[in-house]
């Protein structure tokens, strides 16, 4: 293909891509948020675990699961104390969760605080792993916000390894993430994009990303070497 044709094809392809994106972007953006929500249909379990954060939605969803008879106990991992909690201005996150559960009619005897000082979802997964070590047949519904479900599933799968089959992620609808038009609101926008960034960070930091990266770099280097070799070989004489 000659150079003007190649440029023309490139411009046409770009225009078509932009046109498709322009007309379908609401659907794409909706799909982007939906991709994060991997919450499953809850099945009968022994425990329901509330992940800390999202106190105005997650414990309410956990209470609903308990009241629907899908679990007999609620687990909450103890968290580190935030500065505001240290100053006594607000209770720590796990205490807030416990208070919501009590407020929604869950008996105190059905709530178990997992020991530790969780600062991240990884810490909560570790707390659950040690809890499940003594209960190899227990099934747990893990409740988290819809946007946080994919990352949580990834974290729990890595932390629990062969025991990951004992848990099931249930997503609680978040108020900050309206189904339609999350990108219009700054909280929704920050929530979704930061979740993608965090996912990328987790894959790089904790996943097999470094092997993929090494393979890509090796491929690029081999490509460069082949290219240089070809450019050095004498041109055929006609």
């Amino acid at each position: 293909m000659s150079r003007p044709y190649r440029y023309g094809a490139g411009v046409l392809l770009l225009a078509v891509t932009l046109g498709v994106l322009g007309t379908t972007y609401p659907r794409l953006l909706r799909a982007m948020a939906q991709w994060l929500d991997v919450g499953a249909r809850p099945q009968q379990a022994d425990y329901v675990m509330v992940l800390n954060g999202g106190e105005d939605s997650r414990p309410f969803a956990a209470a609903a699961l308990f009241k629907a008879g899908l679990a007999r106990h609620v687990l909450v991992a103890k968290t580190i104390i935030s500065p505001n909690a240290a100053d006594g201005i607000v209770p720590p996150y796990h205490e807030l969760n416990r208070r919501v559960l009590l407020n929604r009619g869950i008996p105190a005897t059905a709530i178990t605080l997992l020991p530790g000082a969780a600062a991240t979802t990884f810490d909560e997964a570790r707390a659950l792993a040690s809890f499940l070590a003594e209960r190899p047949h227990a099934r747990v519904l893990v409740v988290t916000s819809d946007y946080h479900a994919r990352r949580s599933r990834w974290i729990f799968a890595r932390t629990l390894a062969d025991r990951a089959g004992q848990i099931e992620l249930v997503s609680a609808p978040s108020d900050d993430l309206p189904e339609d038009g999350w990108w219009q609101d700054d909280e929704g926008f920050v929530t979704v994009l930061s979740e993608y960034l965090k996912l990328a960070f987790y894959v790089v930091r904790y996943g097999h990303f470094r092997y993929w990266l090494a393979a890509c770099i090796a491929l690029v280097l081999v490509g460069r070497w082949v290219q240089r070799r070809e450019s050095r070989s004498p041109a055929p004489a006609y």
Partner: protein, 266 residues
């Protein structure tokens, strides 16, 4: 005879003319020298960036901060959601500002209808502020409260627009989180007219865990920095001030969740 004439590559008669490369550049030594030079420049740039990363990151962090001189004020403003007021040690700062001007009032801008407040699990921001400020020597009668229609900075700006119209001669020092301050200033400038915006001064509170001088050294720091960058990106791409739909009550939330459960299990 020049170096170029002796070059083994130019001994091939097909090459320079066909490739259209200036002959002097195609000598391996010149190419190698250029490549080395490029590599050294890149290395110097990386080393320079590494050496100066502190000042660079400090400057970038500083772009998110809008800390303004407080001047004369009649009110000190506090806003926040259910995790307390915005800004670290906001009550200490409010009490300190009150002590500087004992005739001033404290304005609490609270979010209406928060689920945790509605259920009585948490005290409202006004109640919490009254308790905490009283413990710091600020009398309860100096505290006045107003409501905003959402939990974001645009809702704060809309609430302040109404309040400033009702108080045409008063100025307010609004306390806020340090990395949030530039964004809040942007929202205020967009929602308020210039004379109203000039009557609001932002006091960007330093967080005890990190600020613009060391945000890259801690998880809290780079999370806060990243979130605020995304917020600015949102304003740049979409604009701001889109009101959120009202929150469901606790009972409605639980009911709708149970409904989705029964639909899912059907």
């Amino acid at each position: 005879m020049t170096d170029f004439d002796r070059s083994p590559i130019t001994a091939n008669p097909a090459r320079p003319a066909a490739a259209g490369i200036p002959p002097a550049d195609s000598t391996p030594t010149a190419k190698q020298r250029r490549r080395w030079l490029r590599f050294l420049i890149l290395l110097a740039a990386v080393a320079g960036l590494w050496w100066a990363h502190g000042p660079v990151l400090r400057s970038v962090g500083g772009l998110l901060v809008s800390d303004e001189p407080v001047g004369q004020y009649q009110y000190v403003g506090l806003c926040g959601r259910d995790s307390g007021p915005d800004g670290d040690r906001a009550y200490d700062a409010a009490a300190a500002l009150f002590r500087q001007h004992p005739s001033c009032h404290i304005l609490v801008i609270q979010t209406a209808a928060l689920r945790l407040v509605e259920t009585g699990i948490l005290a409202s921001l006004a109640t919490l502020s009254r308790r905490e400020l009283a413990a710091r020597g600020v009398p309860a009668h100096t505290l006045v409260a107003t409501s905003r229609d959402g939990g974001d900075d645009w809702a704060t700006a809309r609430a302040l627009r109404v309040w400033l119209s009702d108080h045409p001669t008063d100025s307010i020092v609004l306390l806020c989180a340090r990395f949030r301050s530039a964004y809040l200033r942007h929202a205020l400038s967009a929602v308020l007219d210039s004379s109203q915006a000039a009557r609001v001064r932002l006091h960007a509170l330093r967080d005890r865990r990190c600020d613009e001088t060391d945000w890259w050294k801690s998880r809290t720091g780079y999370k806060a920095f990243g979130m605020e960058c995304l917020r600015h990106l949102h304003t740049w791409c979409v604009g701001g001030g889109h009101p959120m739909p009202p929150l469901q009550s606790a009972d409605d939330y639980e009911r709708s969740f149970r409904l989705t459960l029964s639909e899912a299990t059907r």
